[in-house]
Symmetry: C3
Subunit: 216 residues, 3 copies
């Protein structure tokens, strides 16, 4: 099993770095669109990619947070910032691959976040919540720093629900002692496929009905 | 005393859940007004209701924060989000009761926040500060996520000062070893009545004089 | 050496209080410009002055954060808020001295932040990052609460790069065991002079080239 476990760990780490790269790229692209300077690009790239995990680690009391100890996440985010700064591809080119990579980050982060929180002694519902925070927290910070309403809150294509489903599945597996690399990968894959389908078929979450006088 | 203490604890817990419900409702109503989807409503409800306490717990090093351990706060916030999503009452209906419930939350949170911080070894001034953060932090997060200037900072009816008064009274009682369920309840009641009077008589805090050229 | 060390410590503490005062003043002035009430002025002054250090301390697990234990920082920030509330000088009067004091705060905070993080066991790159966060974090919180895009991200005069240079120099000194009061003071002075020169000669950081269709 040792070989298998190690291969799974490597696969998971590589997957997470893909997710970090995708998240960092989305932050860097927003910074470019807003006319931020090179420093602003780096800050938005790093806080998008690492913010969710840092919040999770602060909440569970794991200090310093993982991304301050294992620097591969930070270097990956900086690499993404550099690529965007120098190359700065058109959104039409990046749109497709970026969305897919972002979906991988979302799916992997919601699972690993839930596992880390659960292994730090949180109950299944709290671990689910933190898995969700890990997956979407960085994007919320990106949008706050970039001066726009967090895109995860507004009725664009479903984004948070796949992460919530993945986190819930993971916490359920952990609770019933059925979590292992294969079931965990299935949970991540489920979230990823759900997100890709939402992008492909333009799925939206319901809004509350609003009377005209309720609009802000 | 055991009976009495237990009754006091129950009363305090019920009061806090009322406050959580009121705070969560204010977050959910803002989300509806801004056109957020069901997920945005849930996020705003939860972060408004639980945000202040989470910040307090992170600052005093109580990890995981209380609302990740005792889930009654989370369920109460989710209930408020569900009520607003399905029923979505007009602000004219909710305005009055909501303001009163919010005042109860404010008064209870500033007292319990101060007590928790003091019992974790902080000095009276720092405990006062954290009591204030507990009471108003959630609303600040709500407004940041909702894309508006934190209402507690702008010259609407006095909101933070009652919380500050309640927290200061509590810290003073603790410092002079005079805090007990009765004096603590008086501090909370004082803050609640102060806030209700500010709403009733439209009290405002002073602003600095501004010359015309100072306006942003 | 004891005398010398103690004199250095006193000089550093006085310098930090100068920086706190300058940062708090910048927060209070923004609050006045935005028409916030007296409470909003106090909140913006305190969170600008203390926010960066609080984030650093939460990340390294030093709870409660230093500014909740040593209250001299808090009182200094409150003093700055009071001065601005009552006196409220014109920006033309405060601009020059304020910019210089702010540069001192920036230079001192990036060095002390890096040292504190390094002494808590973080590696040199992570310590550099936290030194930077200590120096600029308060200003980011100020701008978020004040409803504007963080000024450190946009292409105004170079602000974060001096802090990054100071933090990098400090971490390098610590890594090679060459940090002492004198070399540390040189790192701080370098950052301060760099920032003052950037103000004097209107230096800017580069932006990524943007095609017209990339603008937000």
């Amino acid at each position: 099993m040792a070989h298998f476990d190690s291969a799974v760990n490597t696969a998971q780490h590589v997957g997470e770095l893909f997710g970090v790269f995708a998240f960092a790229t989305s932050g860097a692209l927003l910074a470019v669109r807003r006319g931020f300077d090179v420093f602003g690009i780096v800050v938005l790239a790093c806080s998008t990619a690492l913010g969710g995990g840092v919040i999770r680690d602060l909440v569970i009391g794991r200090t310093p947070p993982a991304s301050f100890v294992d620097l591969s996440y930070l270097w990956t985010a900086l690499l993404a910032a550099a690529v965007i700064f120098f190359w700065h591809p058109s959104p039409r080119v990046t749109g497709g691959p970026l969305g897919v990579a972002d979906a991988f980050g979302l799916g992997l982060f919601c699972v690993t976040g839930t596992v880390i929180a659960y292994n730090h002694g949180l109950g299944a519902p709290s671990a689910t919540l933190l898995g969700l925070v890990t997956a979407i927290g960085g994007g919320v910070i990106r949008d706050l720093l970039g001066g726009q309403t967090p895109s995860v809150l507004i009725p664009e294509q479903i984004y948070a629900v796949p992460a919530l489903v993945g986190a819930t599945a993971t916490a359920t597996l952990l609770h019933f002692n059925a979590y292992n690399p294969i079931t965990g990968a299935c949970a991540a894959l489920g979230a990823i496929v759900f997100r890709l389908l939402a992008m492909r078929y333009d799925w939206h979450a319901p809004q509350a009905r609003r009377r005209p006088q309720d609009r802000a």
